[in-house]
């Protein structure tokens, strides 16, 4: 073999290792999906903290390569991406994110008006509406449960539950959950307008009372004991959520609370986002099941929003004239914190520029986080 043909053979071999030689149309489609996520995050500012890592993760995960045991892909045991992905598959990223959420959440609105908790419960109908529809579409009960949790509008919960109930669908479920959380400003307002009258939208709620520190400290302790005695399978998520909140409210662990709601949650969000994005390899992701999951995800958000609003209207039948709840905060039982509460505020201001609903909406919003974690615990208990 002369030197030139040796070089030629080497180049030909090298070519087989490049992405150009290995790409499929599936990879191209997924690369465009990743670019779309990045575009939405930067140009439209839809959940940039999530969509940038996920979008870039999709790019990382969809650069094709020759399967030569080089430990490159996220599904190859021992690869760097696979090691980082363990936090998703073993389900320990989501509880750490919940720790941070707990450390940054002020439950005052909920404590001062605890009846708002029930709105957070009602919105969980989205989960089970999607569960029922998923069953009729032919999914197994465990898969339907994992898909239904998209309606909880809580990315970490969706990842946690799907990693336990239907690991093969986790990529599609996570992407769907985060996408629709980003699209809350598009999905919810039409449903809110459709289901409320002009008179209802103008309801002014009593301002929340001042909540003492003792009450704030008692909330995570009682919250943990009551919810986890009822649903121990929700312990990883609820335990960390309430623990984080106690760090915040105790007043003596400021450093820990700041770490949990700052550097820790940022690090885990980056790792979670990029690995979930990278897990959407076209060969694994582009299936009919993924399309169905996306359709079900949208439906579950609509059902959850509608259930929250209708529940408030129903609840108002039993409340005194001065204690009525504005049904525009019903949507915020969907626990996309704080986006859905912001939607309540924005839509409310359209009809009365001096009616500020944000503080009231934060109550059901954080109750929705608890409610969706409880619902995930129930699904895990029944189907896990």
């Amino acid at each position: 073999m002369d030197f030139l043909s040796f070089l030629g053979d080497n180049l030909a071999t090298f070519w087989t290792y490049t992405a150009f030689a290995n790409f499929t149309w599936g990879h191209i489609i997924m690369l465009f999906v990743g670019l779309l996520f990045i575009y939405l995050a930067i140009a439209k500012e839809f959940e940039p903290m999530l969509l940038i890592p996920i979008g870039f993760g999709i790019l990382i995960g969809n650069i094709p390569f020759k399967d030569a045991g080089l430990q490159l892909g996220i599904y190859e045991q021992g690869s760097v991406l696979n090691t980082l992905y363990q936090g998703v598959t073993s389900g320990w990223y989501p509880p750490l994110i919940f720790l941070g959420i707990g450390a940054m959440t002020d439950f005052s609105a909920l404590i001062s008006n605890p009846k708002l908790m029930l709105i957070g419960a009602a919105a969980q109908f989205g989960i089970f509406g999607a569960y029922i529809i998923a069953l009729t579409m032919g999914f197994e009960p465990n898969q339907a449960g994992a898909i239904g949790i998209i309606g909880g509008a809580d990315g970490p919960t969706a990842i946690f539950l799907s990693s336990k109930l239907a690991p093969n669908l986790m990529g599609a479920i996570a992407i769907s959950a985060y996408s629709y959380m980003a699209l809350v400003p598009v999905i919810q307002p039409p449903v809110m307008r459709l289901l409320t009258t002009k008179k209802e939208r103008l309801i002014r709620m009593k301002p929340p009372r001042v909540v003492s520190q003792t009450e704030k400290i008692m909330f995570p302790i009682f919250g943990l004991l009551l919810t986890c005695f009822l649903v121990p399978s929700g312990l990883p998520l609820l335990g960390m959520l309430f623990f984080g909140n106690l760090l915040k409210e105790s007043g003596v662990t400021r450093r820990l609370a700041e770490t949990a709601r700052g550097p820790l949650i940022d690090i885990v969000t980056i790792l979670l986002g990029v690995t979930v994005g990278a897990s959407t390899q076209a060969t694994q992701f582009l299936t009919l099941a993924s399309v169905k999951i996306f359709a079900l995800g949208a439906l579950s958000f609509v059902i959850a929003t509608a259930a929250g609003i209708l529940f408030v209207k129903f609840f108002n039948l039993f409340l005194g004239k001065n204690n009525k709840i504005n049904p525009l905060i019903g949507n915020s039982g969907v626990s996309a914190v704080p986006d859905s509460a912001r939607i309540s505020q924005t839509v409310g201001l359209e009809y009365d520029p001096t009616n500020y609903l944000l503080m009231h909406a934060m109550g059901p919003n954080v109750a929705g986080v608890i409610g969706s974690a409880v619902a995930a615990g129930v699904l895990l208990g029944f189907l896990g």
Binding site: L110, I111, S112, P114, K115, M117, L118, G120, A121, A122, Q124, F125, I127, F128, G129, Y131, I132, L135, T136, E140, P141, N142, A144, G145, K206, P207, P208, R209, V210, V211, S212, T214, E215, M218, F219, F222, G223, L226, T227, L230, V231, V252, R254, R255, E258, A367, I370, G371, V374, A375, V378, L379, F382, L383, G384
Partner: protein, 320 residues
């Protein structure tokens, strides 16, 4: 002294918690007394065997524990230490050969089983007197027929619960049963493997059969979600009322207000106090007209609390 007591208390608490995943979760799981054509050891011998099961979610090291077939001699065979294979993974098994040839290694016992009479077998903890589990294999064993728990690590309470839940077990089901490959009852001799081979997910099958539409799941799960948050609502309604009541009392005590006046103060929101404070400020602080610009300036700080002594060294709480 008090600190010491708290420390000892915490230590005891931790020890009790740790014990839950120690040797106490080991179970004698399956025994084959007459081994003619069954599993063979690394020497190619077919000897009687005893299977131990780790019924806990944590790895348990059985080294140092004792196996015996003599009730009067609990320390008959000490499972040697220093062998990594004595660690039993969660929900996994380990097999001992009852061939009376302990010189062949860790898993060969220094006693054999009686092929005619009954066999008492016990597992003792490393102290030599804490009984972990015991069983008596009835006499009259058949070749290649094992005697074991109906499902791995089960207790009578678990079987009773399964019967109560109307699962595949009915009244009269036994905890200890015979496993025989020649009888077509789905019970097979399974050394180092699950006694009950689960080829379906019972929970999922149950839902598919009884709740194909998902209505049952929806009602149950929503019931639980509502109950959980309703409980929280009730507790915090109560706590809120107590908090408001105590703030009335404080207000009454501090300012001599009547009950009704104090009630009004305690129930006001923070923004109302802010508005009142602003009004008082406007009314009492007299200023000339000033040309001011309200702006927001980004504050940049390179300071990190990780390197700060103020943050890392908290003052010892002052005892009152």
């Amino acid at each position: 002294m008090r600190q010491r007591l708290i420390f000892i208390g915490l230590l005891l608490f931790a020890a009790i918690g740790a014990d839950a995943q120690r040797t106490s979760s080991l179970k004698i799981n399956e025994i084959l007394v007459i081994n003619q054509d069954n599993y063979q050891d690394d020497y190619g011998n077919k000897s009687p065997w005893i299977e131990i099961y780790n019924a806990s979610p944590g790895t348990v090291n059985i080294a140092g524990c004792y196996l015996t077939n003599d009730p009067s001699n609990p320390k008959k065979y000490m499972i040697p230490k220093g062998d990594v294979l004595t660690k039993i993974s969660p929900w996994q098994h380990i097999l001992f050969w009852a061939d009376g040839q302990h010189s062949r290694g860790t898993f060969h016992l220094n006693f054999a089983l009686d092929s005619i009479g009954e066999n008492y077998i016990a597992l003792y903890d490393s102290d030599g007197h804490t009984l972990i589990d015991e069983v008596t294999v009835p006499a009259g064993n058949l070749p290649n027929r094992s005697y074991g728990l109906v499902e791995d690590g089960w207790t009578q309470a678990k079987l009773d619960e399964a019967i109560r839940l109307n699962s595949r077990y009915k009244d009269g089901s036994q905890l200890w049963v015979y496993f025989d490959d020649t009888v077509a009852d789905g019970r097979y001799v399974t050394p180092s493997s699950n006694n009950k081979i689960l080829d379906t997910n019972e929970k999922i099958e149950n839902f598919k059969e009884n709740d194909a539409q998902g209505a049952g799941m929806t009602l149950t799960a929503m019931g639980v979600v509502f109950s959980g948050l309703l409980l929280l609502f009730l507790i915090f309604k109560l706590i809120g009322n107590i908090a408001v009541y105590s703030s009335h009392r404080r207000a009454m005590k501090a300012s001599g207000l009547s009950k009704e006046e104090a009630k009004g103060i305690a129930q006001q929101s923070g923004d109302m106090y802010a508005a009142i404070a602003m009004a008082i400020y406007e009314a009492t602080e007299l200023h000339d007209e000033e040309h001011t610009i309200l702006t927001i300036k980004r504050s940049v700080s390179s300071y990190s609390p990780w390197s700060s002594k103020i943050y890392t060294l908290r003052e010892t709480p002052i005892k009152k």
